[in-house]
Subunit: 431 residues, 2 copies
């Protein structure tokens, strides 16, 4: 038997898991401050539930990537592949839910897809959504919350905002009929450039004149004011008004790190209005850190019966945020344990000392074996614990302990009270 | 299509999820203070990994309860049914791991079993284990940590401790050969009483004399000192020495809420030494809140090749802890949002106010629709938000806002600064 993880999964060890917990807790506090409350839904869902989204017109490639299974009653189940479908199912099952319903969710999702660098079959998503209002206040609020969440992690982000109605208006003005596939092409502008996108549009049968009409309006430097003069289709004007409202609300909310970017498309088919993405400012852009938009039709399609349930949401990338924090050295993944107590024939007294530290809120460990001092120091080093506290009979006689700085090797004879003081001062400056 | 959850799963709504997050965060802080670090392992595991435990002698009923599935490469996978098997797999895959390895894990596990009251097919476990040392210091440390964890939640618990070697020693002394099945019977003493257990032992073919010999030693009032005089088998004496060490270490650690209980057996077959359970003190005993023990053979059996990897662990019940906190009214499940801002033709100024509150760390919401004041007040009420802040043009002229206490209906004209002060003072006394 070969001992290994399932393909496409991985273990997350202490340093990364501590960082992930810190990010999730920091974000959650901000979400709650903005009035979003947590909702936990199961990982197991009925296949009926998971496939309904696709029946409603979603890309059916994703359907193939669902991990399927049966329970003992032979019921068809699947592992959730996102947090939006369970949200739609929850809204459907709770018709008395007060609207707008503002919830956040953090959890694992599963996709049985091809494995590439950085792509896993089991990974985390963190979603925040406002369901049941078409007011642009909801859009502005989620953008403001996104800015606040990254600020809480000491990350400066720039948030690009666009509106699908504006894109659709531009495409309509250029006489392009299959807007969905054109938007998928435009979504690649960052990666393949204007010439690449032009090539794709040409392949789809559009004329040079049409493509020029598209690029006369879709350009990274296009301002909202310029576009107001040039865009004349009704749907385009509606999108521009929505954008104007969002930017006006964001100004009132004192959120300044937002920019209009008419080239921002976002791949997913279900967006209907605002779309936005957050990037690290002045940093190497590896990928967006968060992104989302308005999807006014998806939940209603799911519910059926002609119900209209407008919604606006964002998904935060936990892994890219971890990678960014590490790359910037903003938070190191240091082990939290501050001291390792090593008794030399003084187990009972040493137990008292380690408990004194813990009761003071200091993370501390004690040697659990019968190893000698040097083996114990090696262990403390391997675990990156910054201080050892050696307690022998000589120290006890003097009512002191020996505090060893593990990086310098310096040893100081101190009272337990002074050790507590020193380790507490350390705590303040440490992540 | 019927819209519902998968059978045996459930949604956890805001109030319960907030409570769960609080419990998990409080516990995690204590675990880390005791030098345990987080490890995240996947939910998907290879069937090879999940079934190896059973090959090693574990109850094979559990094997039938594994949710099985295949990935696109037709590999046999399963959903993890506990957090111990993934720990064993992780230890096996990381041979250079420094021992003792102290880790905690929090996550969902899955069992395709019968559904009873309070039993789900997808539920949470929280495990803390020390791997790689047979020192009773590890056992005492985990018991002390358990006491500290419940204390941090303001719950008084009593921790019952026993040792499987003592039980085996007693059974040996009584001439009982199939110790495993006898221990399963004794485990039910709480539920079916002495007569019920006697009946079960009789059915298994033991004589009245043997059964009397068992109950002469297994009695809730039996002290360690009494047992030392009466128990003469080698294995029993070894267990008594281990218990003596654990109680001595716990005394040094100033952990007083521990009691010896020779009738504590715990059902699982894999325990080899210390077993313990935490119960609410002076409360209605619904179920134990946490329980664990030493399992010195299980990981070694899993690894094979004759490796011996002693281990000691505990599993916390998150759901019973939530239920207990609720029953005692220790933490209410109140929604965190403190204020709901209602603009009356003052959207921009109201956005500034809600941002002022949020920037001060106060969870606040703003009306996202165009509803009237009374509809907005109804919404705030439905969401249990304690205060509304009504901002009309009259209030703005006076540079004030109208703070409405939602329970009394009292309205006070205040500056935003005074609102912040009031809501912050509220925060301190609130869960």
């Amino acid at each position: 038997m070969k001992i290994q993880q399932a393909k496409g999964t991985r273990d997350v060890q202490a340093a990364d898991k501590l960082l992930k917990n810190k990010i999730v807790n920091t974000f959650q506090e901000i979400f709650e401050r903005y009035g979003f409350m947590p909702l936990e839904t199961p990982i197991l869902e009925r296949m009926d539930t998971l496939s309904a989204k696709f029946a409603a017109g979603e890309n059916s490639d994703a359907l193939k990537e669902i991990f399927r299974l049966k329970d003992q009653g032979k019921r068809d189940l699947g592992l959730r592949f996102d947090l939006t479908v369970p949200l739609a199912r929850y809204v459907a099952m709770n018709p008395t839910l007060k609207m707008p319903f503002k919830r956040y969710a953090v959890g694992r999702v599963f996709r049985d897809g091809p494995i590439k660098l950085g792509r896993y079959r089991e990974f985390w998503q963190m979603d925040i959504d406002t369901v049941g209002t078409s007011s642009m206040l909801a859009d502005a609020e989620i953008v403001a919350m996104t800015a606040a969440a990254f600020k809480a992690l000491d990350l400066k982000v720039k948030i690009k905002i666009n509106n699908r109605k504006v894109l659709n208006g531009i495409l309509e003005q250029a006489g392009i009929k299959d807007k969905e596939s054109a938007i998928i092409a435009i979504d690649k502008l960052d990666k393949i450039g204007k010439s690449g996108v032009s090539e794709e549009l040409k392949e789809r049968g559009y004329t040079i004149k049409q493509i020029e009409a598209v690029f006369s309006l879709i350009s990274p430097k296009m301002t909202l004011a310029q576009l107001r003069k040039k865009l004349t289709t009704d749907i385009g004007k509606e999108g521009l008004q929505e954008l104007t409202d969002v930017f006006s609300y964001l100004k009132s909310m004192d959120v300044s790190q937002v920019v209009f970017d008419v080239s921002l498309a976002r791949g997913l088919a279900y967006y209907t209005g605002t779309v936005f993405e957050a990037y690290l400012e002045n940093g190497p852009v590896l990928s967006s850190l968060a992104g989302g938009g308005r999807y006014d039709n998806m939940i209603g399609n799911y519910l059926g019966g002609g119900r209209v349930v407008p919604a606006m949401g964002i998904s935060f990338g936990i892994e890219p945020t971890i990678d960014t924090l590490k790359a910037l050295g903003k938070i190191d993944g240091t082990i939290k344990t501050k001291a390792f107590v090593i008794p030399i024939n003084t187990v009972d007294e040493s137990l008292k000392v380690v408990q004194d530290l813990r009761n003071e809120g200091i993370a501390a460990d004690i040697s659990l074996g019968k190893k000698g001092v040097s083996k114990n120091l090696q262990y403390a080093n391997a675990l990156s614990i910054p201080y050892s506290i050696i307690i022998g009979e000589n120290e006890l006689k003097k009512k002191k302990v020996l505090l060893r700085d593990m990086s310098s090797g310096t040893e100081t004879l101190l009272s337990v009270k002074d050790v507590v003081k020193k380790l507490k001062s350390l705590k303040k400056t440490d992540g």
